[in-house]
Amino acid sequence: MNNTLCIDSQDISFESGQSIMQAACAAGVFIPHLCFHPDISPHGSCRLCMVQVDGRLLPACTTPAMAGQKIENNTDSLNAQRRLVTQMLFVEGDHICPGCEKTGNCQLQAVAYFLGLLEPGLPQMYPTRNIDASHADVLLDFNRCILCELCVRASREMDGKNVFAIGGRGQHAHIVINATSGRLKDSALSIEDRAVDVCPVGALMKKHQAYQKPIGQRFYDQNPIDQKGDANSHQRGEKT
């Protein structure tokens, strides 16, 4: 059987069982995404990776690759939709890029640059959310959480700990920490956990590492995300 599909007139081969996203990643084709991580089960919630598959708009991360698929990805209309999704994520939270310690290493910021997003474009929502700084080594700033659930999935699937869950509904959805106090210091989280590495934005972060790498030398400072790939799956443990 011929396991080949076509993305924007480029033929790529794939292995059975792969999603369109996995096939694209393996072939070095960039499909913008935030809630996808190669080592974690797919989720399909951020809706950034929507591609046109034989005329149907589907998330690349949860749609199985199939022989003969004709896929549109890097088109003006899809990127316009992605800009709007990205703007939604920006205005929903508090994303103060220039003042954020994640700047230059942040995938939300990098995707925004890739898409040519220059302004919020939508009214800001100014959420009032908390910060959990109780843990000795890890900080969680809820204001910057984009609800990708990567930390939830990583803690469950890779760390075997289930430190995180989602609580609330709709606009009130938020990360819940598994501890009677609800605080990180009383949870089973340790700085060694994969869950700490996977956050694509400046929400779940290691403490005591801010600005060790100066601005200008950060992950996306020289090259854009379609060339560099994901900061959160790159060289685990490297100080970014």
Partner: protein, 582 residues
């Protein structure tokens, strides 16, 4: 562990998929599920505390803080049109309660809730989970004094809790006499194959929205090999303005249960569930009694009607305030005790992988009732009614500006005009068909027919006369979707809020043409990119009303010049300027 919680856990045999039912039972007993109780449940089911907290905080009728009286006013536009806002203000005032917070003495809580399925007898509210209809200023005054005097709910006036049927027109489904067991006996005599053929001949379509052919769904499920098959009746009826399933369950439960039992025989299921929205708790006891009667008659339980190979029973699972749980994928999550997030987007559909991963038929209440009545009356009588593609009859829930709100059974294909005449609506400005997720109909469309060839309908028709401001309606719908979005995917979680804000800006007269353009872009994105049907349809009412009433929108705009920014500098700086004036 508290004795009560231990006994609830034992009653549910510590089964993890019973989590939601366990939480509901605890709340019914203790008025809330305290953090301590949540921890005990987590421990008892071997789940993480965070997961239990996640479930409690998902369902809007569950709460962690104690109270003696919990009052939730139905916040559908129909309730508002019947004076809900003033009544709620009145009660808040009398009881000195702040909306959405428990009074400082810990006794009273008042909040809004999405439509509770009583639009034909609005305004309505839930008091400690039980439905009170036809609220009036005098009922509110009396209620306040009952509460201040700590009179238990059981001593409140019984007539407050009466839910009228309001059946205004009967046809084949509601008017044909039916004896419990009649359709089942027929099926057992004729055999499964001929039963399925008969149902195919009747061409019954699902009544929950998608209109999928019933016989095809049942066949697909039957043909999927598995260790178990399940039958689920979708009684979530969360679509605002819809209440026909309520009437069927209240007055015709045997028809519904018989339809489920037919399905069980055909697909080979031993277990069925009714997923009953929490707002319909008032009918739980009578439904349980009906199930017991059927067991006593040999129509449920082991060896139904003496058939050695036929054992089947039905459990009722309650929901707890989440419209999205009517969507079948979310419903199955909820049945398994999870947050009602439609995590897995089909395919595979529940019909091959549903409850506990097994093939599951999910049908609407009315669909099951139709299946039983169809076998009863036979193909000829059934297909004599309706249109070529929509056979038989449809129940309509009619509410709003008409003299005779209630449930109407009409053959498919009936014209909108005929329906409006029957319910005695006049001076109609527009109708909302199929709830906030549906589309509106202007009087110039009233010759159209209700059937899948023309105006597809879930049966809900809300009537608005010329005195009703369109923006009151659209704003209420937008609020509904903000409240009901599950929050899983970006376009719906954020888009519903943005649309609500923009509509508010328009109705306040601050918007410009650019805001309208942005609303259209957002609407388009939500339709094309949301994860489930809720987000995909949540902007329908906006694009539709923009198309059908463009002049109304234009007249509300602050500035119609497309080149002007949507930001109003004058307005934004007015407060600062006023403050800086000497």
């Amino acid at each position: 562990m508290s004795h009560h919680i231990a006994s609830v856990l034992a009653h549910h045999q510590h089964r993890p998929q019973q989590l939601l039912q366990i939480l509901i039972d605890i709340q019914q007993h203790d008025t809330c599920i305290t953090p301590q109780a949540q921890a005990e449940v987590a421990q008892g089911l071997n789940k993480s505390l965070a997961e239990v907290q996640g479930v409690v905080s998902f369902y809007s009728l569950l709460n962690p803080t104690p109270r003696e009286y919990d009052i939730r006013f139905s916040h559908n536009i129909i309730d508002l049109m019947q004076g809900k806002a003033a009544l709620m203000e009145n009660l808040l005032e009398r009881l000195q309660v702040t909306l959405g917070t428990v009074r400082s003495d810990g006794r009273v809580f008042i909040d809004n809730t999405s439509c509770i399925g009583m639009s034909d007898q609005a305004p309505a509210a839930l008091v400690n989970g039980y439905t009170v209809t036809r609220l009036t200023p005098s009922r509110i005054a009396q209620m306040a004094s009952l509460i201040e005097n700590q009179v238990p709910l059981s001593d409140w006036p019984a007539e407050w809790f009466q839910v009228a049927l309001n059946i205004q027109r009967k046809d084949l489904l509601l008017d044909t006499p039916f004896a419990p067991g009649q359709a089942l006996r027929h099926l057992l005599q004729e055999g499964i194959d001929s039963g399925l053929d008969a149902l195919q001949g009747c061409a019954i379509r699902g009544c929950g929205g998608a209109g999928f052919p019933l016989d095809r769904k049942w066949r697909l499920c039957q043909e999927t090999p598995a260790k178990a098959h399940y039958v689920v009746c979708n009684a979530d009826e969360g679509e605002p303005g819809t209440f026909k399933d309520r009437v069927l369950l209240q007055a015709y439960p045997d028809l519904v249960f018989e339809g489920m039992t037919l399905c069980a025989k055909i697909i080979g299921a031993q277990q069925g569930f009714v997923y009953l929205r929490g707002e319909y708790r008032y009918m739980l006891d009578s439904l349980q009694q009906c199930l017991q009667r059927r067991r006593d008659l040999g129509l449920l339980g082991d060896h139904i009607l003496g058939d050695e190979d036929f054992s089947f029973d039905i459990d009722i699972h309650l929901g707890a305030g989440a419209y999205v749980c009517g969507a079948e994928v979310a419903l199955i999550e909820s049945l398994q005790g999870h947050r009602g997030v439609p995590r897995k987007r089909p395919p595979p559909f529940p019909v091959t992988q549903g409850y506990l991963g097994q093939p599951t038929v999910v049908n609407n209440v009315e669909t099951f009732a139709l299946s039983a009545q169809a076998l009863n009356v036979g193909q000829q009588r059934f297909t004599d009614l309706g249109t070529a593609a929509s056979r038989g009859t449809k129940l309509l829930s009619i509410s709003g500006d008409c003299a005779r709100p209630g449930v109407y059974e009409f053959p498919y294909g009936v014209s909108v005009r005929e329906v409006m005449d029957a319910c005695e609506a006049d001076d109609v400005q527009f109708l909302q068909n199929a709830g906030p997720a549906g589309l509106c109909l202007r009087p110039d469309e009233f010759e159209r027919g209700l059937c899948c060839e023309d105006v597809n309908t879930t049966g809900s028709l809300m009537v608005f006369n010329a005195s009703r401001p369109l923006f009151d309606v659209t704003h209420n719908f937008a609020e509904f979707f903000v409240h009901e979005s599950c929050g899983f995917c970006t376009p719906c979680r954020v888009g519903t809020r943005l649309l609500q804000q923009m509509l508010e800006k328009i109705s306040q007269g601050h918007a410009t043409q650019q805001d309208i353009d942005k609303m259209l872009q957002l609407s388009q994105l939500m339709k094309s990119s949301s994860h489930c049907g809720l987000g995909m349809t949540a902007s329908n009412h906006i694009t539709d009303s923009l198309e059908k009433f463009p002049a109304l929108y234009q007249s509300q705009l602050h500035d119609t010049d497309i080149t002007h920014p949507s930001f109003d500098l004058e307005n934004a700086t007015s407060e600062a300027r006023a403050l800086s004036q000497p």
